[in-house]
Amino acid sequence: MPSIDVREISKKFGNLQAVDKVSFTVEPGEIFGLLGPNGAGKTTSLRIILDIFKPDSGTISVLDGPMSEEKKNLIGYLPEERGLYQEMQLDRCLIYLATLKGLTESEARSRVNDYLVRFDLLDARKKKVKELSKGMQQKAQLITTLVHEPQIVIIDEPFSALDPVNTQMVKDILLEWRAKGTAIVMCTHQMHNAEELCDRLALINRGRVVLYGALHEIQHQFARDAIVVESSQDLPDGLPGVTSVQKHNGSKLLTLAKGVKTEDILRTLLERNIPLEKFEIAMPTLDEIFIQVVKESGGEE
């Protein structure tokens, strides 16, 4: 049973069709990427799932049924526009927001404390939120998203304003929560992060889903007839079945002639005693797929 089941939702603001018949499901224990250019309709889709906006049409099932006030306590949300009470002390702010998610005050206090230790924010707990750096505020925001142990985590651009160390920490946390069986929806522009973390994804452009499925399937679908080869020795010219050889990140990218199989090339290379350090099918990056699909479906708005 999917944790989130979105079916054909549409939403219009004035003349702008922000979301147009969007459908996808998110399963427990997976990281689902909701990708797309600016203004594609990602945040609106999230807000509809969270019952902040009502859709004009379509249905949403969250944890096996329509959204309710009780279910809101089972969802952790990190909005794109980060927000905390700037004038409040950090720990008071986090405890207050945690109690609004159904924790008792003592539970909230002890869990917030654990997270402050883990996120290296314990020394800043008595500071006003506005006195914290952007990265610290980002980590504090993440605490409000996770502190009530939600079954669904919805995060919009989780890596913005984070340095590489904290980015890695957030990635580790997301992977840890996925392992616990939490359904995670992640909106991001940063394709390399999505590629690293997401199990499945939907690419939205101009309010419509233009690509949807498991990451490796999508990559296979967009794979060119090419292989990446790394060898300590130069490759001989005129390999049969290879139309061109290009440099590719320290390796060689071999474009295959139509109808030639990768096994044929591998056999040829082995027969010619060429030492191989790497031999793999050239997969397009998510970045490349993203650009290609967005261009094909009508460009950025």
């Binding site: 902040i52 949300y77 909005p79 409040m88 109690t99 609004l100 998610k101």
Partner: protein
């Protein structure tokens, strides 16, 4: 604890812990206490009664110089007894002008030739004060009354002051002492106090909502509480903070005045009654509910506090009306205009409180005023709760009165 209570507690604690709130809460009674102490000290050193010290503060400074007169009518034969040093006769205006210039006299009168027909007197004084007129000088009244009665002093007094009435009230309720300036000052203070308390607590509402919008906490809150829980928690919390302020201010004023009854020579029945405090609580709560919901409505629609300023001006306009009519309100607390203002819901809180602090108000008027205020509060809270929807709270557009009113009435 329910989420509404969590919002309520957080809002209340955040408000009362604010430095500005604590300062105003303490400062106002402190200023009152200081004034009493100062009056006490002056009283001890001068021997004057506290009432007369306050009176002196409210009297315009009167020149101690004598005044001149030129009698062109020929009616003034003798200067009345007791006025010999206060009035100086001049035969022509040139001499009078010279004396005025050399500050031997403070002003002069020219009694015109046709005084008997026209009553015309020209009053020449160095400063220009259109508000005070001739009323500052009683000397000319005495001079002319004495001249017209051919020196009959008793008749002259009666012309000047024909009725010396003693009022006897058939009710056993103590009437206010018209000679004591405190009977006028207290309604002034109560009117302003109510204006300040209702305005400041309802403005807190506006800033609380716009603050959450600007801090972008609203989106987090919207996935945790319902708009109705948020609105009701805030209204009650800020109302309690305002109530705390009202009770502390009114209560300390009451204690201060009641403990210094002898100091101000007030009759014991004129002490501020406890009933004023009780009515004060009702009028504050309902008045606050009306204005706080209006402010919440503005807060729901505008993106930031800055954008809200034009809108708040329109909303608080009715609150300013009692201040504009404050003189009628205090001098004539039973006049038709004042009675209407004290019953009309948007002006009722401060007007009715001012009336209650100056005269006994018929109970039906108090109850009618409270009833209408309660109905308005219910209407507005319902209307604003409808308007307090997530889409409005998250979008934020430029404020338009037309849109505000349309939303208000379509949601009610």
């Amino acid at each position: 604890m329910s989420k509404m209570l969590l919002v309520l507690r957080n809002e209340f604690v955040s408000t009362v812990r604010r430095r500005s709130f604590i300062l105003t809460l303490i400062l106002i009674p402190l200023v009152g206490m200081l004034s009493v102490v100062i009056i006490n000290i002056i009283q001890k050193s001068t021997g004057q009664s506290a009432g007369s010290i306050v009176s002196t503060l409210f009297q315009p400074t009167v020149s101690t110089l004598p005044e001149g007169f030129i009698d062109e009518s020929g009616l003034v034969k003798v200067i009345p007894p007791g006025y010999e040093y206060r009035l100086i006769r001049f035969n022509n205006e040139t001499d009078a002008k010279a004396s005025l210039a050399s500050k031997e006299i403070g002003a002069y009168f020219i009694i015109s030739k046709d005084y008997l027909q026209s009553g015309s007197v020209i009053y020449v004084r160095p400063d220009y004060n259109p508000m005070s007129g001739v009323s500052q000088s009683s000397s000319i009244d005495a001079l002319m009354a004495y001249a017209l009665t051919n020196g009959n002093l008793n008749l002259a007094y009666r012309i000047q002051d024909p009725i010396n009435a003693t009022q006897v009230s058939v009710t056993n309720v103590e009437q206010r002492n018209v000679d004591n300036p405190l009977t006028y000052i207290i309604p002034y203070i109560v009117t302003f106090l109510f204006y300040i308390v209702i305005l400041s607590s309802s403005t807190l509402m506006l800033s609380s909502i716009t603050n959450e919008k600007q801090n972008r906490v609203m989106e987090i809150l919207m996935t945790s509480v319902t708009p109705a829980e948020l609105l009701s928690g805030k209204i009650i919390a800020l109302g309690l903070a305002g109530l705390l302020q009202t009770v502390v201010w009114l209560g300390s004023g009451m204690l201060l005045l009641n403990s210094s009854t002898s100091l101000f020579a007030l009759s014991s029945a004129f002490q501020i009654p406890v009933s004023l405090l009780i009515w004060g609580v009702f009028f504050f709560l309902l008045g606050y509910a009306v204005y706080a919901s209006l402010m919440a409505g503005i807060g729901a629609l505008v993106p930031s506090l800055r954008e809200a300023s034009q809108a708040t001006t329109i909303v608080i306009l009715p609150m300013v009306v009692p201040l504009v009519f404050i003189n009628q309100l205090i001098q004539q607390p039973n006049s038709t205009l004042v009675v209407i203002l004290s019953i009309f819901p948007l002006t009722a809180p401060s007007t009715m409180m001012a009336r209650l602090s100056s005269i006994p108000v018929p109970i039906w008027q108090i109850l009618l005023s409270l009833g209408l205020l309660a109905l308005t509060a219910i209407f507005l809270v319902r209307a604003i709760a409808g308007l307090f929807r997530t889409q409005n709270l998250l979008s934020g557009t430029a404020f338009s009165l037309k849109y505000f009113l349309r939303m208000l009435f379509s949601r009610a």
